[in-house]
Symmetry: C2
Subunit: 190 residues, 2 copies
């Protein structure tokens, strides 16, 4: 695939990523992605045969994006608590998007859970990357239940996203992020 | 509307309620509801002109169902903590459904947030009923931040539903419910 092909493929994945987030996977058609990118539907099939193929590529792209973001948090500090705070800051950086459409990972996962099981497995990939990184940080803090804490932190953030979006409540989102960060700070270094 | 009409209407709402939960609102067609109920689509329009009308009726039905459930929890105990525990038991009673399709309220809310704002407002109705009931219980416990606690409890339960469903993890769901109930028990009566 030449540069132009690679570029078109990336544009399709990037547009689909946004559409899946803003409208939902099932509510996004090939046509929507074509309209968004200006790439004719005919050319389009050259890169992806099915919508499921695009879903796979979007999930891969999200896994990569989260890996980079987590890597940046790892590099930003040596204290695992600082790294965890860096991760939770996502709720601050993405405030507007969370209020409007919830968490991209959580809402896609919830949506796909209602389709077939294979889809749900795919959507789990992003959570798994984050979960594993969180376990590492809690391990570094000397926790004896790192995986439980990783799941607890993910669940708290997911719950806050659901409620902040449901009530479109920025003040609640900020207060809850502060609560989550206080909990992270309360984790002791062994 | 005669008895038969009322009965048909209820059957449509009940089938739509289940389909919206198991497949998602956008993934459910008039035809699906017709297939599920055996009521021909022609007759069908007699009760509901649009899918949005059905959505409204489903949300009304859920509001009623939750009001009854909360009323039952209120009647079951005088200690507000016991009432709150009764409410959280929903995660135990609905274990299989939560693992398969998440929380019906949270996932509908997340799905509708991606559509237009009017839909999102509609979906907020069920959360609002629960939130108000929770505030009453925390007030009875003498809390000075009852609404914050109500939102915290809702968020915790929502987060647990998202993660339990994403990983299809029954053990995690049970452990997390126990954590939530320990938190409820730790709330002091003034």
């Amino acid at each position: 695939m030449g540069n132009k092909g690679e570029n078109n493929r990336q544009r399709i994945v990037s547009a689909a990523d946004q559409l899946f987030y803003r409208r939902g996977y099932n509510q996004t058609s090939f046509r929507d992605i074509s309209d968004e990118t200006g790439i004719p539907r005919g050319n389009f099939y050259y890169y992806f045969k099915t919508k499921e193929d695009i879903l796979g590529a979007v999930i891969d792209a999200r896994v990569n994006a989260f890996e980079e973001m987590l890597e940046a948090c790892s590099s930003s500090a040596s204290d695992p608590r600082e790294r965890l705070l860096c991760f939770t800051n996502m709720l601050s950086v993405s405030e507007d998007a969370v209020l409007q459409a919830g968490c991209p990972i959580g809402t896609l996962s919830s949506e796909l859970a209602k389709d077939d099981d294979a889809y749900q497995e795919m959507s789990r990939a992003v959570f798994t990357v984050i979960r594993q990184w969180l376990v590492k940080q809690f391990n570094a803090l000397g926790s004896s239940s790192s995986d439980e804490k990783a799941m607890d932190l993910l669940a708290r953030m997911q719950g806050v996203c659901v409620m902040a979006c449901a009530f479109d409540d920025r003040k609640y989102l900020r207060r809850s992020l502060a609560d989550i960060q206080a909990w992270v700070n309360s984790q002791t270094l062994s």
